[in-house]
Symmetry: C2
Subunit: 206 residues, 2 copies
DNA sequence: TCACCCATGTAAAGTGTTACATGATTAG
DNA sequence: CTAATCATGTAACACTTTACATGGGTGA
C-alpha cells in the first residue's frame, strides 16, 4: 500500500470520530452484554456470574467483583434487568437478577447488528460472544444467517491481510513477520470454522 | 468439574486480588508497551504511530489521538521516552519521540517476563506483542526460548479446555458449543504455529 | 477558496483494575 | 475458634472512547 492509501485510511477514521454522534440510548459495554446473555439463559446472582467467568473459558471477562457488581447496577438502572432478593435461612441474602422485556430487546438488538469491518479487525471477541448467545435468543436460523455474513466479510478481509504481509515482509524482523503470520493464520482458521459450522446448521435443518 | 473445583478456583482468584500488591514502579498498559516497542524500532511522532495503528494489522490498538497522545505523555513523565521537537519549514512542528535508557530497560523487562497461565487465558495478545518485538530487542535466541516456554504452557492448557467442553457439552446450545470449539481450535492453531516457528528459528541457527 | 493533508492536543464520561471491607454459616 | 464458603459491595486510580478544538500547508 502506498502512502496515499495510508493517509486515506487515517482520514476516514478521523472523520468517523468526528461524525459518529451516538444516539440517545446509552451504550452498553461488552461485559454488559455478556451478563445480559447469561441472565437470559438463567436468572443468576452476581456471585453465580463471577463463578462462570472464573471457571469456564467465557471470553476472558474478569471475574472481579469490582467489574461485575457495578455492571449489574448499571444494567438495573437502565431498566434492562431486575433483582429479586432471596432471603434464605442460613446463608446470606442473595440478589438474583433476571432480564426485563427491555433487557431482552437490548440483547436482541445487539445480536441483530451487522458484522462490520471494524468488528473483524478489532472485536472478533464481540462477534464470537454474539454468536454464542444467538441460538438461545434468536434461534438457529439467525445463527446460520450470522455465519453467512461472517463468512462473506472474512473472505474479503483475508486477502487484504496477505497484501499487508507481502508489503511489509522485507522490513520486518523474523519474530515480527511470524507474529503477523500468526494473526493471518488465526483468521484463516476462523474462516474454516465458519464454513464447517454452516454445514453443521444445514445438516440440522434437513 | 465438580462444585468444589469451581469454588477452589474462585477462591484462588479472590486471594490473588488480595495479595498481589504491585510495587513502586507504575504499571504500563499494553498500549504503552506497543509504543515503546515501535519507538525502539524507529523514533517517531504521535502521528506516525497513529498511522501504524490505522493502516497495519497491529494488534488492534486504537489509533485515536485521545489514546495515543496521553499515553506518550505518561511514558515521557515516567522518563521512558524523550521528545525532540522538529521545526521544519513548511509543515507544522512535530514531536519525535525516542526511547531513553530507562525505556529500553522497561521494554526488556517486559519481554523477559514469564508466560503465565493468566496470559494464556486472557491476554494472548500481550504474548504475541511481546514476541513481535522480541527479535529486535533481545535477539533471536530469546525469541526461540520464548516460543519453547509458550509451547510448554499451551500444551498443558489445551487438554483442560477439552475437559471443559466435554463437561459442558450437554448443557449448551449449538451456537454456544460451536463458539467454545472455535476458541479451542484457535488455541490448537496457535500451538501448531509455535511448533513451526520453533523449526524456523532452528533452521536459521544452523 | 475549498478540500484535503499533516500534526497535536484536551475534556468529559464511562469502564476496568486493584485493593479493601463486611457479614453469615458450616466443617473441622 | 478458625478456615473456608457463600455473598455483596465500595473507593481510588488508570485507561479508553468519543467528541471537540486548533493550526499550517498544498493543489485544483
Amino acid at each position: 500500500m502506498g502512502l496515499a492509501g495510508a493517509s486515506r485510511i487515517l482520514l476516514d477514521i478521523t472523520s468517523r470520530y468526528d461524525t459518529l454522534r451516538t444516539m440517545s440510548e446509552r451504550k452498553i459495554a461488552l461485559l454488559g452484554y455478556a451478563l445480559l446473555g447469561l441472565l437470559h439463559q438463567k436468572p443468576s446472582s452476581g456471585y453465580d456470574l463471577r463463578k462462570i467467568f472464573a471457571t469456564t473459558p467465557m471470553g476472558g471477562f474478569s471475574d472481579s467483583p469490582g467489574a461485575i457488581y457495578p455492571a449489574l447496577q448499571r444494567l438495573q438502572q437502565s431498566g434492562l434487568i431486575r433483582a429479586r432478593v432471596e432471603d434464605r435461612a442460613g446463608l446470606r441474602r442473595r440478589r438474583v437478577f433476571s432480564l426485563s422485556a427491555a433487557g431482552v430487546a437490548a440483547l436482541e438488538k445487539w445480536l441483530a447488528g451487522p458484522v462490520t469491518r471494524n468488528d473483524l479487525m478489532r472485536h472478533i471477541d464481540d462477534l464470537m460472544l454474539r454468536f454464542a448467545f444467538m441460538d438461545g435468543v434468536k434461534g438457529q436460523a439467525a445463527s446460520l444467517e450470522f455465519l453467512k455474513n461472517f463468512r462473506k466479510d472474512l473472505s474479503a478481509y483475508i486477502p487484504e491481510l496477505h497484501g499487508h504481509l507481502n508489503a511489509l515482509r522485507e522490513h520486518m524482523t523474523v519474530s515480527g513477520r511470524l507474529a503477523l503470520e500468526s494473526g493471518i493464520l488465526s483468521y484463516e482458521t476462523l474462516l474454516h470454522w465458519i464454513k464447517t459450522s454452516i454445514v453443521t446448521y444445514q445438516k440440522i435443518k434437513r
